[in-house]
């Protein structure tokens, strides 16, 4: 029964080629546009999925200073502007000592956490025989002390160094790691030990690894010892054994040395085990004395201030999202925030593709609406043109429902053929078209970022990384990204997705079939309405 309706439908398609070719061309144009739109959206989804699959999501817990500042803002009375309670804020910041290692460890017990490591960062000074790498203009009398012809820069003999309490920077950034996993640059392959070996992260022995630049600058090799001093008390000396020398390919010391802070220069970064660094911090705390600054009159202690940061890793993004809820349940108060630099980096990379995907979505909706309207109109004309045929078929005893089904089959067959052809052509051209559009989006995004950089007096793509000392962690590209409120707006720092390999897949094909079905039903519904309304007697009487 159904077979003859299909057979009849195909016979009618064949006998009305001109009209069906016209409908087919229109549907083909719609299908091609829809295919491109869907392919772009699918490409964005694929890229997102692939990036997320290859990305280890990590998170940190940090003090939410911005939120606290908001809390300290008093509402003004009688049209007075809101005032900020600076004293209360300073007191609160002083009390906010950060989370302890025990607290960090307690949050690591959250079910969503798959990995956990922590680092302690501290700034120490060098000694006469161990100087930091710097490219500053040498001070008088100090350049001669620099080995291998390097300029000495900061410090020199005597008391130039060790003015931490006065706001001066120290020589070295020392990072104590709880495990090798915490050495992210090494884990991501941007840094590697070139000589010697790594220290035991669980050992409290004073072993360390130093950069090749630092080793060359000081003429050090594996097995040598270096002496670090407490910046607040030069009498406190700590002798570290150099067990390895590393090379960090991602490190670019130019921007750091320009700031005049040698400890922020990646070349002056020293890695050691957490227990060993913690031991140094504890010793300085035990020997700490309270002194008064001659200039400001403020009191300060001579112990070394350290920063403890913990990183939690998750197997997927969903685990990361559930982590915040879990740590809140475990007792983390609202003055701390959970954030992920990986996620921020990922979102930044996805900006052009997401924008393109969004535009493709709007384009798709417009195309489908216009397409549906055109098809409805065409099908209404088609049905009116074939009014006589409908009258004859119903007069012959064919039920109106079957006549409508035949018309629907015709529309579906033409639409499906055009959509499949559109999908084939669209699938072929989707990758180059998407890449061309994506290139435009990336260029637009880069230009925008460059304009912002220029507005702030920086060169295009300068990056403007201004992370606080010891508070920068590498993102998945190996670059160090600032934490705690500093955002890098420079386009050069964001590794945008600029190219996609494939956009077409079975999902797009199924979506295209869905579109064919949708267009058929929408345009067919109008036809069916007309078919059901027609009275064969009137049609044939008018004909006669």
């Amino acid at each position: 029964m159904i077979l003859y309706i299909i057979k009849n439908a195909f016979r009618c398609i064949g006998r009305s080629r001109g009209r069906n070719i016209l409908i087919g061309i229109i549907v083909l144009a719609i299908a091609l546009s829809a295919c491109l739109g869907l392919s772009i959206r699918q490409a964005a989804e694929n890229a997102k999925k692939e990036t997320l699959e290859g990305m280890s999501v990590t998170a940190t817990i940090s003090f939410d200073r911005q939120s606290m500042m908001g809390n300290m803002l008093n509402e003004g009375e009688n049209d007075e502007p809101p005032s900020f309670d600076r004293d209360a804020f300073s007191q609160m910041m002083g009390e906010a000592s950060g989370l302890t290692l025990e607290e960090y460890k307690a949050y690591a017990e959250a079910p969503s956490v798959s990995g956990f490591y922590y680092t302690m960062s501290a700034s120490l000074n060098g000694s006469d025989a161990f100087l930091p790498v710097t490219s500053d203009t040498p001070e008088e009398g100090s350049a001669a002390d620099a080995p291998n012809g390097f300029s000495q820069g900061f410090g020199g003999k005597g008391g130039g160094r060790g003015q931490m309490m006065m706001g001066a920077q120290s020589d070295f950034s020392v990072e104590g790691v709880s495990s090798e996993e915490a050495m992210t640059a090494f884990m991501q392959g941007t840094a590697s030990i070139t000589r010697g070996e790594n220290f035991d992260p669980l050992s409290d022995e004073l072993n360390c690894i130093i950069s090749e630049e630092l080793a060359t600058f000081n003429g050090l090799s594996v097995g040598d010892t270096v002496v670090l001093t407490n910046p607040n008390n030069e009498e406190e000396l700590f002798t570290l054994a150099v067990v390895g020398i590393y090379n960090d390919t991602s490190a670019n010391s130019d921007s750091f040395s320009m700031m005049g802070a040698t400890s922020t220069d990646p070349a002056n970064k020293i890695y050691m085990a957490y227990p060993a660094l913690n031991g140094i911090i504890e010793v300085t705390a035990q020997n700490a004395a309270t002194l008064t600054d001659e200039n400001t009159g403020r009191e300060y202690t001579t112990d070394i201030k350290s920063t403890l940061s913990a990183t939690y890793s998750f197997k997927d993004l969903d685990s990361y999202y559930s982590f915040e809820e879990e740590v809140r349940e475990l007792g983390l108060d609202d003055s701390y925030t959970v954030s992920s630099s990986d996620l921020e980096s990922f979102e930044a990379r996805m900006v052009p593709l997401n924008t393109l995907s969004q535009m493709a979505g709007y384009f798709l909706i417009v195309i489908l609406i216009i397409g549906a309207i055109i098809l409805i109109v065409l099908n209404i004309f088609n049905v009116r043109e074939r009014k006589y045929e409908i009258g004859v078929l119903t007069a012959m005893g064919m039920k109106k429902g079957k006549v409508a089904a035949q018309f629907l089959t015709e529309i579906f067959a033409v639409t499906l053929a055009a959509v499949l052809l559109g999908a084939i052509i669209g699938g072929t051209v989707s990758v180059p078209v998407t890449n061309a559009l994506l290139e435009g989006q990336v260029a637009q995004q880069t230009n925008r970022s460059d304009r912002i950089e220029e507005s702030f007096g920086r060169g295009p793509g300068s990056g403007s990384i201004t992370a606080p000392e010891g508070n920068a962690i590498p993102d998945d590209t190996g670059r160090e990204r600032p934490q705690g409120g500093f955002k890098n707006l420079g386009a050069a720092a964001v590794d945008y997705i600029t190219e996609i390999d494939s956009a077409m897949n079975i999902t797009v094909v199924l979506q295209m079939l869905g579109i064919a079905l949708l267009l058929t039903l929408i345009s067919g519904a109008a036809s069916m309405l007309f078919v059901m309304r027609y009275d064969p007697l009137k049609i044939l009487a008018n004909r006669d």
Partner: protein, 216 residues
Amino acid sequence: MAILSLKNICFSYGITPVLENLSYDFEKGKMYCITGRSGAGKTTLLSLLSGLAAPTEGDILYNGDSIKKIDKYRLRSKYIGVIFQSFNLITKFTALENVTLSMDIAGIKGKDKKARALELLAEVGLDEDECNRRVLQLSGGQQQRVAIARALSCKPEIILADEPTGNLDTETQREIMEIFRSLAKKGKCVILVSHSPQVAEMCDETYALLRHSKKK
């Protein structure tokens, strides 16, 4: 027993009465002519008999049962073969396709459908070449033959024909009437609607449609 009976049929278009109190009986094996002047309601009566329209009053009985109880589409596709005045063929189809489509609509199954359609078309005087031509490429007489073959394709007991000889030359008229005559001889009930006295002469019975119908 009458295969088709009209019982006090009335029909009106709005407030204008067209047919009033018609009571006719039609039997198998006979050829009937419904005649009358233009506007007398001949075609309207044919529409009522084929179920394309429903009487405003009265009833039509098919084999003693009211046709109200029979599905109108089933009535037209299986029990009554209708030949329209302007043939009403699907113009983009061939003669053969028009006949096989009618068989499909009637639900006739079997592999020999095409052979049966060709046979029917041959019976009404069309050769295979003419059968495979689109109907627009056929003459009026040939189209009429295709319409007859199509009406016969579902093996109906009743054949209704509206002005079957209206636009045909004398020779073709005679041939077409011969076909109807042979169908009546084969036991079909043939009802022709015509204003032609020649057609009426060739029929077994004639009903003249006036304001009140009369039997000749």
